[in-house]
C-alpha cells in the first residue's frame, strides 16, 4: 500500500496546482517549477535507462558493434548550434532529419490515408435496409462537402462549390461539437478522481 507521506505530498501537489484556478500565485509558481524539474529529471532518467542504455551502450560496449559510435557523433553535432562558425554542421544534421521525415511522410500518406479512402466506398442505394442506406448517404455527403470546403484556389463565385462548401462547414461544426461533447466525460472523470483522492485517500473520509 502507498505510505501516507507519499499520499500527503501528492495531496499538497494537487492543491498547489489547483490554486491556479483562483489566479496565478506564488504557490502555483513553486509547484510549476518543481513539476518541470521532476519532469526534466524523469525524462533524462527515462532516456538513459530506456534508450541510450539498451539501444546504444549495450550494442556498442557489450556486443562490440563499434559503428554505434557514429550516432553519438551525429547527436553531438546538434551541440554546435552555439558556435557561430560551426553552426552549419548542426544545420546539416537538422536538414537531414527533415529529409528523413519528409520521406516517411510519403509512406504515411499511403498507409495512413488510403485505407480511409477505401473504407468510404459504401453503397448509398441498394438492397440494404433503409437505415444503413441513410447512414451511408450521410457519410458520403459529409465527406464530399467537407473536402470541398478546403479548396483554396477555386474562386468561390462558382455556385456549386460555394453551396457545397457551406454545407461542408456546417457539418464540420456539427462534428466539432460532437467531439467537444464526447470528451467531457473523460475530463470530468479525471477531476472526480482527483477529488476522490483528496477526500478518501488523503482525508480518509468514509467512501
Amino acid at each position: 500500500m502507498t505510505p501516507f507521506y507519499v499520499i500527503a505530498i501528492g495531496a499538497l501537489c494537487t492543491l498547489g496546482i489547483y490554486s491556479i484556478l483562483y489566479r496565478e500565485n506564488p504557490v502555483f509558481r513553486f509547484f510549476e517549477h518543481v513539476f518541470i524539474g521532476v519532469a526534466a529529471g524523469y525524462g533524462f532518467y527515462f532516456i538513459i535507462t530506456n534508450v541510450l542504455h539498451p539501444l546504444w551502450w549495450t550494442p556498442l560496449v557489450r556486443e562490440g558493434k563499434w559503428y554505434w559510435a557514429f550516432p553519438f557523433l551525429i547527436g553531438a553535432m546538434f551541440y554546435l548550434i552555439y558556435s557561430r562558425r560551426l553552426v552549419w554542421m548542426a544545420r546539416l544534421v537538422m536538414v537531414s532529419f527533415m529529409g528523413l521525415f519528409a520521406g516517411s511522410q510519403f509512406k504515411g500518406f499511403i498507409t495512413g490515408y488510403v485505407p480511409w479512402i477505401r473504407s468510404s466506398f459504401q453503397p448509398v442505394l441498394g438492397p440494404k435496409p433503409p437505415y444503413v442506406q441513410f447512414t451511408n448517404l450521410a457519410m458520403f455527403i459529409t465527406l464530399i462537402t467537407v473536402m470541398s470546403y478546403f479548396f483554396f484556389s477555386i474562386s468561390h463565385k462558382n455556385r456549386t462549390v460555394t453551396g457545397s462548401a457551406r454545407v461542408g462547414r456546417w457539418l464540420l461544426m456539427l462534428a466539432f461539437g460532437a467531439i467537444f461533447g464526447s470528451t467531457v466525460m473523460g475530463r470530468m472523470a479525471l477531476f472526480i478522481d482527483r477529488v476522490a483522492f483528496l477526500l478518501f485517500d488523503f482525508l480518509r473520509l468514509p467512501r
Binding site: 464526447s182 467531457v184 466525460m185 473523460g186 470530468m188 472523470a189 479525471l190 477531476f191 472526480i192 478522481d193
Partner: protein
C-alpha cells in the same frame, strides 16, 4: 460580453464545479443506470469463460486516465472474484500500471477473502512491445519468469499448467491510449483469443469498428460503461458511486451553456433599447 463575466464569473463556475463534485462523491443519489448492448455482451462473454483457464487483465493506463480506467478495472476484478475466474494483471504499455491495478485487486481481495497467488497473479510490466507479445503467446514462463514481487512463476499456484496462449481464456485491455491493436493483430488475429476492451470515453468511437468486426467481444464505454458493468454484476462500486458527481458535472456544463446564452440574449436586448432612444 455578458453581465456576469470576467474573473468573478469564472471563480463562481469553478466553485460550483469543485464543491458540487465533492458533494456528489459524499452524497449518493441513486442513478438510473441503463445497460447498453456492448457492456452486456462483454459481461456475457466473460461469464461463458471456462474456469480452468486464466484471463489476462492488460493495464494500459496510469494515473493520467485513472479516473475512468480505475473504476473499469475495479468492476472487472469484482466480477472475476465473484465468478471465481482466475486472472493475471499485466502491462506492456504502462510501467506503473500493474502496481496501480494491484492496489485495486488487493482492496477487493480483502472483501472477498481471496489470496494472491491462488486467485490472481500479477505479472508486472514487460518491455519489448509487439515482439514480446508474440513471444508471450508461445511461451509465457519464458517472458514472465517472475511476478511483480520477484517470486518465481513456478512457485505460484495459479500459474500451474499455464504455458502458452492456449491456456489463456481471454484478454481484456483497459486503456487510455492506443494499445488494443497489438492484441488484435498478434493474439486475436492469429490464435482467435477472445478480446475484451475497456477504453476511456474519448476512445469509444474508434472502438466500434472492432466490435462490429467481431474482433472484440464487448466494450466498457468509459466511466459510464464501468457503472453499467457494476449494475450487471450487482454491486455498487467506485463507478456507480461516481455517477452522482459525473451527472452533476454534465448537467452543470449544459446549464452553463444555457445560462450563458440567456444572459447574452438579455444583454443584447438591453443594449438595443437605450441605443434606440439616443439621438
Amino acid at each position: 460580453m455578458t453581465p456576469v463575466s470576467g474573473e468573478r464569473a469564472r471563480h463562481l463556475i469553478y466553485a460550483l464545479l469543485g464543491l458540487g463534485t465533492a458533494a456528489g462523491l459524499l452524497i449518493h443519489v441513486r442513478q438510473p443506470v441503463v445497460v447498453t448492448p456492448p457492456t452486456r455482451s462483454l459481461r456475457d462473454s466473460i461469464q461463458a469463460l471456462p474456469r480452468n483457464k486464466l484471463v489476462i487483465l492488460s493495464i494500459g493506463w496510469d494515473v493520467g486516465t485513472r479516473g475512468e480506467n480505475g473504476p473499469q478495472t475495479e468492476a472487472l476484478i469484482e466480477d472475476f472474484f465473484r465468478s471465481k475466474i482466475k486472472f493475471a494483471i499485466f502491462s506492456f504499455a504502462s510501467p506503473p500500471g500493474p502496481t496501480m491495478a494491484e492496489q485495486i485487486a488487493d482492496r477487493l481481495a480483502r472483501k472477498h477473502h481471496k489470496t494472491y497467488g491462488e486467485d490472481w497473479v500479477n505479472w508486472g510490466y514487460r518491455t519489448g512491445g509487439v515482439p514480446m507479445l508474440m513471444g508471450l503467446a508461445k511461451n509465457i514462463p519464458r517472458i514472465v519468469p517472475q511476478d511483480l514481487y520477484h517470486t518465481p512463476i513456478s512457485k505460484i499456484p495459479v500459474m500451474r499448467g499455464i504455458r502458452d496462449v492456449h491456456d489463456i481464456a481471454m484478454v481484456i485491455e483497459i486503456t487510455g491510449s492506443a494499445s488494443l491493436d497489438p492484441w488484435v493483430g498478434f493474439w486475436q488475429g492469429v490464435y482467435g483469443t477472445k478480446l475484451g476492451y475497456a477504453p476511456t470515453g474519448v476512445m469509444v468511437p474508434e472502438a466500434f469498428p472492432y466490435l462490429h468486426a467481431g474482433q472484440i467481444t464487448g466494450l466498457q464505454k468509459g466511466l459510464v460503461g464501468a457503472a453499467e458493468y457494476e449494475r450487471l454484476v450487482g454491486v455498487r462500486g467506485d463507478a456507480t458511486r461516481r455517477m452522482t458527481a459525473l451527472s452533476y458535472d454534465h448537467v452543470l456544463v449544459i446549464a452553463l451553456i444555457i445560462l450563458g446564452n440567456w444572459l447574452a440574449i438579455r444583454a443584447a436586448r438591453r443594449r438595443q433599447e437605450p441605443e434606440g432612444q439616443a439621438p
